[in-house]
């Protein structure tokens, strides 16, 4: 019984990781850059939700929509201001810029909200579900539902819409896509928008679970989700989903059965092993290097 409960816990945090990892993987697939500021968008999402609910007293639905809007606009702005001028620059320059953006968001949050953690009680009031001896909390149910809906919508969007196929084309070959009349810059902006929107949702779910706001709250889930994206094969959306869920489950099980302190080491150790066997991740494409 305990095993199943741990499994459910793992799947819950895993689905949050998956939502964040999708953002990493989509941006990587299209812009070929690691967006280190992605984790901090989660933080911005969490703080905006706090402002809209606790300070402005908006109804939850409006607050959630506004939070998603804030993060989406932030994502697009960051891309336009900081990353777009560096499209042709070496990848390390972009990486350092992304780290700069991450520091910037964190220090802004530090200036506005100070370093002391702000308690924030969850607004999700769904009764817990009892199946036999297993109790599934309301937040867990909401997390599963929201994540599943997001993933289905995203899969449909990528595979069925025109913008979705434009995104796939750009990630396949930027120049060829441009020759086919696809607006590459707009496609990249849309990718950032979707990634940031998913990060906002992840931030809302995350803060509903951990109920404490800190300026650095996005860093660790950000790094773990990035690991999850690499785990599943960076650039692959199903891979990010799988990687996120697996990471959550491995973490939860090793916390419960091996050691709480060593859980991170185990997660990262498994990642290294997976990459040694499959260098491009679980579902990643193995690209042959062209000369």
């Amino acid at each position: 019984m305990e095993f199943i409960e741990q499994l459910i816990n793992g799947l819950r945090s895993g689905s949050i990781f998956a939502l964040i990892a999708i953002g990493y993987t989509m941006v990587y697939g299209i812009a070929k850059m690691i967006n280190f500021a992605h984790g901090d968008i989660i933080m911005v999402g969490a703080y905006s939700l706090y402002i809209f609910i606790a300070k402005v007293n908006l109804p939850p639905v409006v607050a959630v929509i506004l939070t998603m809007l804030v993060c989406t606009i932030l994502g697009i702005t960051i891309e336009k201001v900081a990353y777009k001028p560096l499209r042709k620059a070496p990848s390390l320059a972009v990486l350092i810029t992304a780290i700069g953006v991450s520091y910037l968001l964190q220090s802004l949050a530090l200036l506005i909200f100070k370093a002391t953690p702000i308690p924030f009680s969850s607004f999700i009031e769904v009764p817990a579900l009892q199946i036999g001896k297993i109790t599934i909390s309301g937040i867990t149910i909401v997390t599963f539902l929201v994540t599943t809906v997001c993933m289905i919508l995203l899969t449909l969007f990528i595979n069925r819409t025109k913008i979705g196929s434009a995104m796939r084309a750009v990630s396949e070959d930027k120049q060829a896509a441009q020759l086919m009349g696809i607006n590459v810059n707009r496609t990249i902006s849309i990718t950032f928008a979707i990634g940031s929107m998913l990060a906002a949702i992840a931030g809302i779910l995350f803060i509903s679970q951990y109920t404490s706001l800190r300026p650095t709250l996005g860093t660790l889930p950000g790094i773990k989700a990035f690991v999850a994206a690499v785990f599943g094969g960076i650039g692959s959306i199903p891979g990010a989903m799988l990687g996120g869920l697996l990471l959550g489950v491995i973490e939860s099980l090793s916390k419960a059965y091996i050691s709480t302190e060593l859980a991170d080491a185990i997660v990262f150790g498994i990642l290294v092993l997976v990459l040694l066997v499959k260098p491009s991740g679980l579902l990643g494409k193995n690209r042959i290097e062209k000369v």
Binding site: Y28, K32, I34, A82, P85, L86, R87, K88, A89, P90, S91, L92, A93, V94, L95, I96, T97, I99, G100, V101, S102, Y103, L104, Q106, S107, L108, L110, L111, D173, K174, Q175, I223, F226, V227, V230, I234, S259, E261, L262, A263, D264, A265, F268, G269, L271, V272, L275, L276, P279, S280, G281, E289, K290, V291
Partner: protein, 336 residues
């Protein structure tokens, strides 16, 4: 023929003498500035930190600058060196201080180098961002293992490590690191490493054992990071696992990138400035980090090709020039 060779040798000799003189002069100058009260107390206390950061940055530029592989795990190697040496000096109390510290430095460096080889092995199969994430993973593994072991003091860390290190030790090892890096770049091995960075397929086709040189670069970098860790442990006498997290690796990486990726003098200047300035503006509190972040973004943007062209174009309008330099062929990277 013989005469020319002699002349060449003499030139090398003169250069070496000048370099040696500069090294000694630099040592004496900084020493007198510290002792003579020219530098403020705050600055004097910063000197060891600057020295250790220079060792870290110069050694990281071997992997990032020369080899061209992104490493996000330099703090991990530093942690290994710091803990290994500190455990040695606190356990082996019988030895005289000097000898104990020499052994500790060697142990710190060698242990870190061993882990460098360990991390270097995945390099056989991974490249680019995948490699970066593996180095990050290694640091996190090292940190959480240090956090749980009893010999390392767990989350409490180690304290009352003897303060053997001082300005002289740090200076000697700083110079040693710089000399190794500069000479490596000029040597046959160094050129092989550079060729791997430029085009590893071509390098492999020319018969360069790519794997061997990647591991070599990783090991040398890790060795000096270990030395830096040992110096750190014996300067501040307190170690916490949190000192060596991923942010520390990022800080070192920023020194290297802003210093010009493999440009050793640039890296040193960037390290000195970026260690000194944040301390200098400590009174601004939280705004300091904000400024640092903004500066980072702006420097990277101004340094990018597009912006450079715009700025050049702007100046060309103001100052008409006769000659226009031919544009360099733009290299396409990561496009497929």
């Amino acid at each position: 023929m013989n005469g020319m060779e002699k002349k060449g040798n003499r030139n090398v000799l003169i250069k070496s003498v000048i370099a040696l003189a500069a090294i000694i002069l630099g040592y004496v100058a900084v020493y007198y500035m510290m002792e003579g009260g020219i530098l403020s107390r705050q600055m004097t206390s910063l000197i060891p930190r600057i020295g250790i950061n220079i060792i870290l940055a110069v050694s990281l530029s071997i992997t990032v600058g020369f080899l061209g592989e992104l490493s996000l795990g330099h703090a991990g190697f530093m942690a290994i060196g710091a803990y290994a040496s500190a455990i040695f000096t606190t356990q082996a109390a019988g030895l005289p201080g000097f000898l104990s510290f020499v052994f500790a430095l060697i142990i710190g460096g060698v242990m870190a180098a061993l882990f460098g080889v360990l991390t270097g092995i995945p390099v056989l199969r991974l490249r680019g961002d995948y490699l970066a994430i593996v180095t990050l993973a290694f640091t996190e593994i090292i940190r959480s293992v240090i956090n749980t072991m009893s010999i390392t003091g767990g989350a409490m860390g180690l304290s009352s490590i003897p303060e053997y290190a001082n300005y002289t030790w740090i200076y000697i090892f700083g110079i040693l690191t710089i000399l190794v890096a500069v000479n490596l770049k000029k040597s046959r091995h160094g050129r092989a490493i550079l060729s791997v960075r430029e085009n590893y397929v071509a390098a492999e086709a020319m018969g360069i054992p790519v794997t061997k040189f990647k591991i070599l670069a990783f090991t040398v970098a890790a060795f000096f990071a270990g030395i830096a860790g040992a110096l750190y442990a014996h300067t501040y006498s307190v170690l916490r696992p949190g000192n060596f997290d991923y942010n520390k690796s990022i800080d070192i990486l920023i020194f290297v990138v802003l210093g010009g990726m493999g440009n050793i003098p640039g890296t040193i200047v960037a390290t000195i400035l970026l260690t000194y300035l944040p301390e200098k503006f400590r009174e601004f509190g939280d705004y300091r980090m904000l400024t640092y972040a903004l500066a980072l973004i702006i420097i990277m943007l101004l340094n990018s090709g597009e912006m450079k062209e715009k700025i050049k174009g702007f100046f060309r309008k103001i100052v008409p020039q006769g000659k226009v330099k031919p544009k360099k062929l733009q290299e396409k990277k990561g496009e497929h």
